[in-house]
């Protein structure tokens, strides 16, 4: 086992959902396909914290579910520590050995804890299923992870409704680390918490990573939190990674127009001038249903678009050391300043977007 091999390598990952017309016995028109994740490749190194950011509907959650093997990919490979796990069907993955190695901390600790389980039972659940522990060994392990996550042992007998938000977040983290995973997927772990508690949980995550030698995939739409916690970030838009690179570099000098717009929308405490420097994205995202394969996903909302963006989908290319952007006219390249076209008016395509979001839009 070599240590320079990334812990997780995702290559050409796609997830397509059939929508609309259903075929009966192979007859009728072929169904339309919603491209939730459309050809995504990235790696997570050992001990690395990778941030995945993007708006709702961009495919973050689908990627998380694919990596956690709750969903089967349509194409592409997921390689975990040299082992191709993308080919194990999701319904068999629960019993596969890598299950314990990849664990998840869910968004809202209140919703993701069983209300009829005590904190002890919630943390014990993965140990019962994946480690087959029982009796004193089980109790010892639960108490150990409770201590690691700063959960007082007297709270272990409480039910979720008797715990505060921060305590529930600790139970969610304790449950995930109980089976000694190597990759922890954190899906907006602090979005339901107040700032005062958020700081404590972020610190806890940082400490646990060092102590337990974990790697994190941190999914969030709170860019400030991502900036503080992550080594590297991936920016997603409409199923594609449009930019990736070291977090401080991407935040200081975003290369993709979408990243730039996203960062300019973040309000800064104590600073009223944010509105004057904001880069707006007019209109709504394009429809993810049967997208034209040669059009840049941001085309129509991007102020830098030219005709080239309509006929040639840009691929990720190196901008600076470790920084990649999928744009023909990245911002750090003054020589390639394009002659922008007029930005399109919102089109009929928006309707599909709204309809699709009607089902999924609740996810913040």
């Amino acid at each position: 086992m070599t240590s320079d091999r990334p812990l997780l390598a995702v290559d050409g990952l796609r997830k397509l959902y059939p929508v609309g017309k259903h075929r009966i016995w192979g007859r009728g028109a072929a169904p339309s396909l919603l491209h939730a994740v459309d050809g995504v490749s990235f790696t997570i190194g050992r001990g690395e914290t990778v941030g995945l950011v993007g708006e709702s509907g961009c495919g973050k959650t689908t990627i998380v579910r694919l990596i956690a093997r709750l969903l089967d990919a349509s194409h592409g490979s997921i390689c975990f520590d040299g082992l191709e796990i993308g080919k194990i069907p999701a319904r068999h993955f629960g019993l596969a050995p890598p299950r314990a190695q990849i664990q998840m901390v869910f968004q809202d600790a209140t919703d993701s804890l069983n209300p009829r389980f005590t904190a002890f039972r919630a943390i014990a659940d993965p140990l019962l299923r994946l480690r087959r522990l029982s009796g004193t060994a089980l109790r010892a392990r639960v108490e150990e992870v409770a201590r690691l996550t700063g959960l007082p042992p007297e709270l272990l007998s409480r039910f979720p409704h008797q715990l505060s938000g921060g305590q529930k977040a600790r139970v969610g983290i304790a449950r995930a680390i109980a089976v000694e995973p190597r990759l922890l997927i954190l899906d907006e772990p602090t979005s339901a918490l107040d700032v005062s508690v958020q700081v404590v949980i972020l610190r806890l995550l940082q400490d646990l990573k060092r102590q337990l030698d974990l790697s994190y995939l941190f999914v969030s739409h709170d860019l400030n939190v991502v900036r503080l916690l992550c080594n590297r970030i991936l920016v997603m838009y409409l199923g594609h990674i449009v930019e990736s690179g070291p977090a401080d570099r991407v935040f200081a000098a975003p290369a993709h127009p979408y990243t730039q717009a996203l960062l300019s929308a973040v309000p800064k405490p104590g600073f009223a001038g944010g509105r004057s420097t904001r880069i707006g994205l007019p209109g709504e995202p394009r429809s993810p249903i049967d997208p034209a394969p040669h059009i840049c996903p941001l085309y129509g909302r991007c102020g830098r678009a030219t005709e080239k963006c309509m006929v040639d989908m840009p691929a990720l290319r190196a901008i600076a050391a470790g920084q990649f952007a999928a744009c023909h006219y990245p911002i750090t390249d003054p020589a390639a300043e394009p002659q922008p076209l007029a930005v399109n008016e919102p089109s009929a395509e928006d309707d599909y977007r709204d309809l699709a979001l009607g089902q999924r839009g609740q996810n913040p």
Binding site: S164, V195, V199, R203, N224, P269, G270, R278, E345
Partner: protein
């Protein structure tokens, strides 16, 4: 039109106290708070969950839960004492002079009524329009909040619209009768950051064009500083500090405000630079709550903080703080 000067406060809340009777005791959710808001100004009520922000908003709107009881104080809106006015008088101004945007537009909108009709309902109740004019005016309002293709969207149901679109419909509904005061209760929670920017810019722009006062309720200090002239910081049912935005960040006077700013990730260079706020909000059911409800979490607390009555006092221009030992 009621009141017309920019110096006489449009909304004045004085010494407001609100209790909730629950099975496990009386919760003193809001205790002796006061603030003023002038026409055309924007103010933010900032605080953690459970600090009494939304309850204050509901009290102003007169839509408190039946278990709530107003124990003290008054709310004066454009010369009318809202707490003494009858339900009929309040129903006349609620929706016309006073409007609110709720947190989750999907649950605030009627799911089985097209959005155009929901806006028309408000207009028909308050807007002096005829039944024939109302649908057209509703479409105008949808266009004003920049919903593309408003004629067709007016016939859509909330589930057919994205979260951002639903929030625009809420804004259209709130602004249909050109209110004097708009209360925005966490208007962008659950929306994407780019959508949040669009929605907040829209509210700010419409407020400026109609000289409307805005009370923004949020837990996000960044959002508050971008859109509000004044910030009132709430903690456990008290307003601990009120100040102009820049002054508050430049030099917070209340220890809690300072901690809140230090805990907000927005400006911090690294995770280690963030400071957690020790302790938790006190249990508001306790009978022995100290005069300063922050005293049990405060590093600067002295014996005085636990027994000497606390008054909010003016410190400098337009600033008030409730602390015996301000920073």
């Amino acid at each position: 039109m009621i009141g017309n000067s920019n110096t006489v406060p449009l909304l004045a809340v004085e010494d407001l106290g609100i209790e909730f009777r629950t099975r496990s005791g009386t919760v003193r959710a809001v205790d002796g708070i006061g603030f003023e808001l002038c026409r055309g100004k924007t103010m933010a009520l900032v605080g953690e969950s459970g600090s009494g922000k939304s309850v204050t908003a509901y009290a102003i709107m007169g839509i408190l839960d039946a278990a709530a009881r107003i124990t003290s104080g008054q709310i004066v809106f454009g010369g009318l004492a809202l707490l003494q006015a009858g339900e009929k008088a309040i129903a006349e101004i609620r929706g016309r002079e006073l409007a609110i945007i709720f947190q989750n537009p999907r649950t605030a909108l009627n799911p089985i009524r097209p959005v155009g009709k929901q806006i028309a309902d408000v207009l028909l109740r308050h807007g002096n329009v005829t039944a024939a004019q109302a649908p057209g005016r509703a479409i105008e309002m949808l266009a004003k909040v920049r919903i593309p293709d408003p004629e067709r969207r007016a016939r859509s149901y909330p589930f057919e619209l994205s979260g951002g679109m639903c929030q625009r419909v809420m804004i259209a509904m709130a602004l249909a009768c050109a209110p004097q005061l708009l209360i925005a209760d966490e208007p962008t929670t659950g929306l994407d950051i780019t959508t949040q920017a669009v929605i907040m810019d829209l509210i700010a722009e419409l407020a400026a064009s109609q000289n409307m006062a805005t009370l923004l309720i949020t837990h996000d200090l960044g959002l508050a500083s971008e859109y509000c002239d004044h910030i009132a910081v709430m903690h456990a049912g008290h307003i601990v500090e009120t100040a102009p935005m820049e002054a508050l960040f430049a030099a917070p006077h209340h220890p809690y405000t300072a901690k809140l700013i230090a805990a907000t990730p927005g400006g911090a260079p690294s995770l280690d630079a963030l400071v957690a706020i020790p302790g938790a909000l006190p249990d508001l059911r306790r009978a022995d709550l100290p005069p300063c409800r922050y005293s049990e979490r405060c590093e600067r607390a002295a014996p005085d903080c636990f027994d000497r009555p606390l008054r909010r006092r003016s410190v400098g221009d337009d600033r008030r703080v409730a602390c015996h030992f301000p920073l």
